[in-house]
Amino acid sequence: MLDHILSILIFFPALAAMLGFVVNRESMRSYGIAVAAIEFFLALWLWFAFDSNASGMQFMETIALVPTFGINYIVGVDGISLFIVILAAFFTLIGIASLGETKDIKNMIITLLFLQMTMVGVFVALDAIVFYVFWELSLVPMLYIIGAWGGPLRIYASVKFFLYTFAGSLVMLVGMLFMAYFYYQATGQWSFSILEWYRLILPESFQIWLFVAFFIGFAIKVPMFPFHTWLPYAHGQAPTIGSVILAAILLKMGTYAFIRFSLPLFPDASVYFMYPIAILAIIMIIYTAMVAYAQKDIKQVVAYSSVSHMGVIILGTFALNVEGISGSIFLMIAHGVVSGALFFLVGVIYDRRHTKLMSEFGGLASVMPRYATIFGIMLMASVGLPLTINFVGEFLSLLGFYKQSHILTLLAGTAIIVGAIYMLAAYKKMFFGEVTKEENRNLPDVNKRELVALVPLVIITIWLGIYPKPVLGTINTSVEGVVQLMHEKAISDEAKERIPNLDLIIKRTSAKEAH
């Protein structure tokens, strides 16, 4: 069964979603929780069976799809994707478990299960077209979640979300077709296999153009400044569960794709674009932090702060060394946990008051102590306090980039201070002082169902903040492989210099060798 575990992880939720149409309305939540729990345990099993000393792909599976044109169903997992897959399974589980009284709960759960299929698919696909299929397919359930359960501007927000990412990824598709064509020219065979593409060494001028094509697709998804304008709308209008999944998993598709495609395929172009992207990332970090400070709506604060942290992830990725990339992957997970939790928390208060305006609250700490505590912990994590999960990732990302540029890192570091300012300001407005509004005086504290979602997140936040090794070690091994590959492939002297040579004997294990 382990031989097919990745396919099971992808298609089990989809199958369950299909069968879900038949399940009775009242039993739907239990059904959803059961399915998501099975999926989560399968994901944990994957981790358990995973050989964390090997840097290559594991549990690979290949099925011919359109062999004439080099398209195969290839899936595999390495340290880079492993934890994001687990995170996706985890968030689907707690997302479904914490679903409140939503209209059309049946459709919602079915949609979430379909979404889970596409999310897992994206992170384990090793064929560019299969990757593209899941990447695009993930838009549909998200479109529906925002469009059917969202706020008053939901249709505008969902369509904007769809079209932005759709347009970007079509440009990326052209890039992929070019890659396959170059592979064809070099070898006489069509191939969309990412692993086979890795072997291809392209001239720098080609790399630059292809990098741009892929970049457009990824940057919109991340979303990087100035392509981020769809995100505040999407977050603002999406229902809680939509925002959680969007922030925790879907945005990671973009940053993950940078590491999976852009860096190893185009090492020279990555170096070439390192500074421009770093500057964009820093603008993203500082500008969105400032915008976050100006928000009146707590959800928008979280949304902009989420974009700001994505900037740190990008910065870490383009540090192009092991610290930076490992840090950015770790931060992806941390960001998923923390901003996911923050969106949950906003959802909690929104359920009670049907407003997200901070001016409507004040002195909540005395009314809802448990809520205030959890919010406080998550906020500290978001700010990057040591001993929380975010700190590890942010520190490593910045450390990585410090090796490339001191000044830019310093600039990015200041943003963390800005982050502390807006977050604490928001916290002060909502939780401290007198209870100003009469309606707030009798708000119920977090209930059991909400704790089910929040407590595990708090535990993970602190646990991995104190002891990140089980996750970080596995990530590190795979990232070393990527960096080594980049160094070997780099053509230009600058790239050779910027990308460290690790002198590793890389254990590129395939599924067969692993067993």
């Binding site: 359109v66 549909v140 249709i155």
Partner: protein, 502 residues
């Protein structure tokens, strides 16, 4: 003293005519039945047509087998030309017709289907299209084209609504003009080369190195205008939305597929050698035509308030998209054209059929037109299965993976990449993104708005019967599981296109 002409029957290779003769015989049979025993139910004629088309399909399989063994076959004084293109396009023509004809078995009574003439004309039309693609003789192309077109005009007019007459007359007038252009273009090529066979024309023009380039260009202009009409390329597209609106949804879907593949094949035969001749001017014009067609049609589709008109513009855009294959002119692009069109025929016929089953006899007050977007508002609540299927077709038309049309789109864009048309590839990609908006608009109406129609979703299947649902189910399955067939199709198509020298 003229020597007597000696023609042996074998040299005529009459077998090449069989696929065309089958529908003609079928049509005559239907007329004869009506002659002796009128007032038969339409189901008799539908099933007879289906059977005839089935036999035709088998005959095509036969010719495909012969082609695979012996290569291109000529027949009937070398007028008939059965090559890979002819066989592939006939497969599409007959296959799409087989999907179309059961749509006549509607729940509501539409009187055009009660005439046996409808089915006879339909079969004659198919024979016409088959002749058109199975020859490179400009005269036979013309005969086939006119046979098919005249039958088609009548089929539209039989729909018996004010708009249908308008549509038929409009189509007829435009078609007559296009026919005039075609014959004028042929005349010029004949005057230049002394032949009406495309390969002869190509050979002669090549031999004298295109010295009469001025005349060649005039001929090309007339041909382009003529095919512009048939393929509804911008700026010759103006008839399309009105004609589609005037015809029944099913026929509109049919018209967006079958006449176009016939025209594509002729355009491929004619323009292929011209593009490879190195006449830059021609390439530029075709390039502009392709880009304008897909872009402008997309923009117009954005602002439509009626789903059927939107689909009409969308099919113009798809035609422009596919025309790019002829511009690129490589084996890969020509194969991509067929792949695209096969996948498109499933999806598009499916989506028009969805309109067809929701066809009401009378318009309710809140609806401005037969298939306005409003009508589909909140469909997910009242008719969830139908809404999901419709959304599926829309997503496929938008090129969202893994649904059918994505694979065609991908292969076609890839052929632009390999053919060196990078900018064109990007334009194609961006156009797909624009197109996403109007397909999405219908999905938004269906899934995210509140229903206006308060009759429990009955309106969406007002016209549905088992055969109609079967066709839609067939199309939906084809759309979802296309990826399983792509490899096989691609192998099949590429062999046929390559062995025909394209």
């Amino acid at each position: 003293m003229l020597s007597p002409v000696n023609v042996s029957i074998e040299s005529l290779n009459l077998m090449t005519l069989v696929p065309m003769l089958i529908p003609i015989v079928g049509a005559l049979l239907i007329i004869v039945i009506d002659l002796f025993k009128s007032d038969q139910h339409k189901s008799l004629y539908v099933m007879l047509s289906l059977l005839v088309l089935g036999v035709d399909f088998v005959a095509l399989l036969d010719s495909a087998g012969i082609f695979e063994k012996n290569g291109t076959v000529m027949g009937l004084f070398d007028v008939m030309l059965i090559d890979g293109l002819a066989i592939l396009s006939q497969f599409i023509i007959v296959g799409a017709s087989m999907l179309f004809i059961p749509l006549a078995l509607t729940h509501k009574r539409f009187h055009e289907f009660s005439y046996p003439e409808f089915f006879a004309l339909f079969l004659f039309m198919i024979a016409g299209f088959q002749f058109m693609v199975a020859t490179d003789n400009l005269i036979l192309i013309f005969v086939g084209l006119e046979t098919a077109s005249l039958a088609l005009y009548t089929l539209i007019a039989m729909h018996n609504r004010d708009k249908s007459f308008e549509a038929a007359v409009k189509y007829f007038t435009m078609g007559a003009l296009a026919a005039g252009f075609f014959s004028f273009g042929s005349m010029i090529f004949y005057a230049l080369t002394g032949s009406v066979e495309i390969n002869q024309i190509a050979a002669v023009l090549n031999a004298n190195n295109y010295e009469d380039i001025g005349f060649v260009l005039v001929g090309v202009v007339f041909m382009l205008a003529s095919f512009g009409f048939k393929l509804s390329m911008v700026p010759f597209h103006t008839w399309t939305p009105d004609v589609y609106e005037g015809s029944s949804a099913a026929l509109a879907g049919y018209m967006s597929i079958v006449p176009k593949i016939a025209a594509f094949v002729v355009a491929m035969r004619l323009f292929e050698f011209l593009i490879h001749s190195g006449v830059v001017w021609l390439e530029v014009i075709l390039y502009m035509g392709v880009v304008l067609t897909m872009t402008m049609a997309n923009v117009w589709a954005l602002v439509q308030t009626d789903v059927k008109r939107m689909l009409a513009y969308s099919s113009i855009s798809h035609a422009g998209f596919v025309m790019a294959a002829i511009l690129i002119g490589t084996t890969q692009s020509n194969s991509a054209l067929f792949l695209y069109w096969i996948l498109f025929s499933f999806t598009n016929l499916g989506s028009f059929s969805m309109l067809w089953i929701s066809r009401q006899k009378n318009l309710p007050a809140h609806q401005q037109s037969d298939h306005s977007y409003n009508k589909f508002a909140g469909m997910i609540k009242t008719a969830p299965v139908a809404a999901t299927i419709m959304a599926l077709f829309m997503l496929s038309l938008a090129g969202l993976p893994p649904f059918a049309l994505f694979w065609g789109k991908m292969y076609l864009i890839s052929s632009a990449v390999t053919g060196g048309y990078t900018v064109l590839a990007l334009i194609m990609a961006l156009n797909s993104a624009i197109a996403g908006y109007y397909y999405l608009k219908l999905i938004v109406y269906m899934f995210m708005k509140d229903p206006i129609v308060e009759d429990g979703g009955h309106v969406y299947s007002a016209n549905a019967t088992l055969p109609l649902k079967t066709i839609i189910g067939f199309a939906a399955i084809g759309t979802i599981f296309a990826f399983l067939a792509v490899n096989w199709l691609l192998d099949f198509i590429t062999v046929f296109v390559y062995n025909s020298g394209y």
